[in-house]
């Protein structure tokens, strides 16, 4: 199964961290294929990836995190991979923890497993107030509509099975967060969380600034409602 799983790293202007991440992935997970989606980086990220000989899907302009994940999904689907693991390029997702996560993924029969910062403590300690509030609201909302609590709806560390590639490529999602989880869960796919420890970000900055902190919940909420509708329609279609 190992060689049939693709590790995908969306990267945008990550020259400070990408080489270290690639080295750690190669050291810790040598049996897996690695794909970096260079999402229109304007710094040296692309050159570093070339120097390292990493398989790279290069976006000629910045399309955003969601589209970068979608590119990885399309590549994995077309290349016949049985699974896909996404990691952030800022090094916050330790490759050292991915092996244990993949073991749990295989053993648990999940269709998607989320590397979760909060499932162990079931609290949002350490996150800034706004983020904590948003995460708690989205998590409660998700539990309300699916009946299952997911504590870390915004984690970029995810393992997914091939069966979810097609619905994720087809659907309308922002960053494959709560809106995608609701959609998959309502379609009957098994989603779970795996506890991980995530170090503080050392380089770069979060992709969520002040404006997106206001925009993000509204967009996610809208897509969440639409995802529910879409999943109901798909289920009705499947029953016919």
């Amino acid at each position: 199964m190992a060689s049939r799983i693709l590790l995908a790293v969306p990267a945008h202007d990550e020259e400070a961290t990408v080489a270290d991440l690639v080295a750690r992935v190669r050291r810790e997970l040598p049996e897996y294929d690695l794909l970096v989606v260079d999402d229109g980086s304007r710094d040296r990220t692309g050159r570093i990836l070339d120097e390292l000989g990493v398989r790279t899907a290069r976006h000629y302009c910045n399309l955003g995190y969601g589209r970068a994940i979608q590119t990885a999904l399309k590549y994995a689907a077309r290349s016949g991979y049985e699974g896909l693991v996404t990691l952030d390029a800022d090094g916050q997702h330790p490759p050292e923890q991915v092996r244990a996560m993949l073991e749990a993924f295989g053993a648990g029969g999940f269709d998607m497993l989320i590397g979760s910062r909060y499932v162990a403590s079931q609290r949002y300690a350490g996150a800034p107030l706004g983020r904590r509030l948003g995460m708690r609201t989205l998590s409660l909302l998700l539990s309300l509509v699916t009946g299952q609590r997911v504590y870390d709806t915004t984690s970029g560390l995810k393992a997914m099975r091939r069966v979810v590639f097609a619905p994720l490529i087809r659907g309308q999602f922002l960053d494959f967060h709560a809106e995608a989880l609701v959609y998959l869960m309502r379609l009957g796919y098994r989603v779970g969380e795996f506890p991980i420890a995530m170090p503080e970000r050392l380089h770069g900055q979060s992709m969520y600034g002040l404006v997106s902190a206001l925009e993000y919940p509204l967009k996610t909420l809208l897509l969440l409602v639409l995802g529910l509708t879409q999943a109901s329609l798909a289920r009705r279609e499947a029953r016919r």
Partner: protein, 119 residues
């Protein structure tokens, strides 16, 4: 504004809301634009449904523009036009994104270029 007038505007706002949501659902309208248009429709419906808000808006419009009726129609037309333009922008952006993704996948399918010495 009469009670019936308010009801007509509410019905129009609801129809607009459903249209916008469906456009987002089928990928013809970017969700960021959708949020703005949904907020606009909800605000319009709210203004005509809540009496003190409606009275205040009517007074403000009358003070600024005199008779408010034609102005509301013109604003509605502008919003519809805006929605149409945004669907076209979304369509174009979506096609461009697909093209960029296809090129990226083709690039990834080639063997990686490496400047590392062979081990």
């Amino acid at each position: 504004m009469t009670w019936t007038g308010g009801l007509v505007i509410d019905a129009l706002a609801l129809a607009f809301l459903i249209w916008v949501l469906n456009l987002v659902r089928i990928g013809r309208l970017y969700v960021g634009y959708g949020v703005i248009l949904v907020a606009l429709a909800a605000a319009s419906a709210g203004v005509v449904s809540i009496t003190p808000l409606r009275a205040a808006t009517q007074a403000a419009l009358a003070r600024l523009f005199g008779a408010g009726g034609p102005l509301v129609v013109a604003l509605c037309m502008l919003v519809l036009l805006l929605a149409y333009v945004l669907t076209q922008v979304t369509l174009l952006a979506s096609r461009l994104a697909t093209l960029v993704q296809e090129l990226a996948i083709r690039h990834a399918a080639e063997p990686p270029r490496s400047s590392r010495p062979a081990s």
